[in-house]
Symmetry: C2
DNA sequence: ATTAGCACTGAGAACCATGGAGTGCCAGGA
DNA sequence: TCCTGGCACTCCATGGTTCTCAGTGCTAAT
């Protein structure tokens, strides 16, 4: 069905179209690539490729353009991830060293990735559900309120104000803090609910209401609240592209956190690259975009994802190389922290 | 120089141009507004307005368009802030209630503002420099490291990891924590440096290195680090506008945090509205945009700013109304927290 | 001071002709 | 059987021309 040469032609079509953004014809192909055959032969191959749905013509007397299916084949079988240049590697190093806290690591990473790929970069904060409790702090705010701060081993901090407790006793808060940390310090977040189950019964009755309030907020903030924090950068790069769907739709989609989360997809193993092309994205406004994403994490434990959004007409090998490199690097940084 | 009627004409030109996005001619003005004079008279007035630089013609046989100077006059003397409709007020209430922490308040505010104005909204986190220390927490991370968490009375949390301390003694950390909180708890951040100046001398010599490291990180994070956190939303609304400067330039400018900070400008009194029109913005890429900003805060203490960025051709009265209302409301929410 | 009338201007739409890149197909050659 | 040169055909993009029309500035009359 698809012999070697037809695949070579498809690869050439994709590469040229990505470069020039213009439908590519048989003559141009014969000139720019050494395929060893004449334009007429290439034309015949193109007809076959078109019949199989890998390429298409915008109109009769124009060159060919890859379809989503064509890009898919290209990514799966005709290209390999392109390693970063030495200069790019150095850029990563200098960009990410010297970040003081998690917020800054994430902020720098997303900018770095958008600059490397010249596209829109997405970075998800390390997931809470996979990390463990480093420390729980309870701070009386005066009046009837307490601020709870949970610190995880990935450096992430969750804060919450708990209100309407009745009068708050300093010593009671201290006791509760101690109990809490003994009960759940070092524990995986997923194991927290079970571990705190019978804590209230160990608290003096007069403080029990406070304890249950604190615990319910704790559980809510750590376990039930699965929405993840996400940042993106490089939207300016979209302006250069002319989308089939309107630019507005794309920007709108990118502002929806839920869309971004689904876009990055389910977590797998660190450094696994996922490519979703055109209509493979569920979202209307993203029909003419592709998403390259990867997990990052410490060791072989995946903490979250990063990704890049661009036109389907993108440099897949280069983008995949950048995403993979940055994912690995952020994993190292987090491990060292 | 500029009599009543000329001003009325200018107002009509601005309003019509904002509505239609097309140069407005004398006939159209006479039709749509009851100015009580004929098109010919309006033409004469327009010539005067053009000579004074308030309006201009894209080309000879076209209608008139307001200049930056024209918008400026319109904002200063010809329009008043438009109060929100009842429906909009209700929208604000329902949008902002139920936010659990500062991050969420800010995130919801910025989305609300962008939806109300259909433009790009900017919200600055409450400034650290004006708030006071609620509590300092030190958490030994094992090994040679400590995590420091500073909680302020505006609900903001700053975290930092301190490394390379030599072996960390649990009790020494506890002592230091106690001293720190006694020394600076409740203090204005600006007063912290002075208050901690002679703390190291009160620490046993064997822990003094740790104490100085912690203090230097504390000072750095609170006082020296003036860059503020900023979020924005509604960039999709820019796609609908056609900018003189390229859309790309605008998006690029909006991704620069430093630009945004300067854009919002110096803090004044809460609820003071500032409008910066076109070239009044220092930034190249923002020559064809206007910024409406306001302070928000608790009582008459300004904590930070919010703002809206849109084309110079914007609905100033409506935008100003929305910005002012949201600024007031976020102040109330923060006061209640 | 205002207005009706009028000639003038220039952008943009509509229309048309032309050039050229690219195609499909066929017949001849390895 | 596969490849290639040749050829007629297609249709988009380009550029020139014309036409329309909203809007102007000016002048003379009210």
């Amino acid at each position: 069905m698809l012999d070697e040469r037809k695949l070579a032609v498809l690869r050439a079509v994709v590469e040229d179209f990505v470069n020039t953004n213009e439908p590519v014809g048989s003559k141009a192909l014969a000139d720019r690539h050494k395929l060893g055959v004449s334009p007429a032969t290439i034309r015949n191959d193109m007809v076959a490729l078109e019949e199989d749905g890998y390429i298409t013509q915008p109109h009769t007397s124009a060159g060919r353009v890859p379809t989503d299916k064509g890009y898919r084949l290209f990514v799966d079988r005709l290209s390999s991830v392109k390693p970063l240049s030495a200069a790019e590697r150095r850029a990563i190093e200098s960009f990410l060293t010297g970040a003081v806290d998690l917020d800054e690591i994430v902020a720098r990473t997303v900018r770095l990735l958008s600059q490397l790929t010249r596209q829109v970069a997405i970075v998800q904060y390390p997931s809470l559900t996979r990390s463990s409790v480093q420390h729980v702090e309870l701070v009386p705010l005066g009046g009837q309120r307490i601020m709870m701060v949970v610190i995880t081993n990935t450096g992430r901090v969750e804060q919450r104000v708990i209100d309407g407790l009745g009068e708050v006793e300093e010593t009671a808060v201290n006791d509760l803090r101690g109990m809490l940390n003994r009960a759940i310090g070092g524990l995986h977040l997923g194991d927290v609910p079970e571990a705190v189950e019978d804590l209230p019964s160990q608290v003096p009755t007069e403080d029990r209401q406070m304890a249950t309030s604190v615990l319910s907020v704790l559980l809510e903030s750590l376990v039930e609240r699965h929405e993840e924090k996400i940042v993106l950068a490089g939207t300016a790069n979209l302006a250069a592209v002319d989308f089939a769907a309107s630019l507005r739709d794309v920007l709108e989609a990118l502002e929806e956190n839920m869309v971004l989360i689904r876009l990055l997809g389910e977590a797998k193993d660190p450094s696994m690259l996922t490519v979703r092309i055109g209509a493979e994205n569920f979202h209307e406004g993203l029909r003419s975009t592709s998403v390259v994403s990867a997990d990052y994490g410490v060791g072989n434990q995946s903490l979250a994802k990063i990704g890049v959004v661009g036109p389907t007409r993108m440099d897949y090998p280069g983008t995949m190389g950048a995403v993979r490199a940055v994912a690995r690097y952020i994993g190292q940084i987090l491990a060292g922290q």
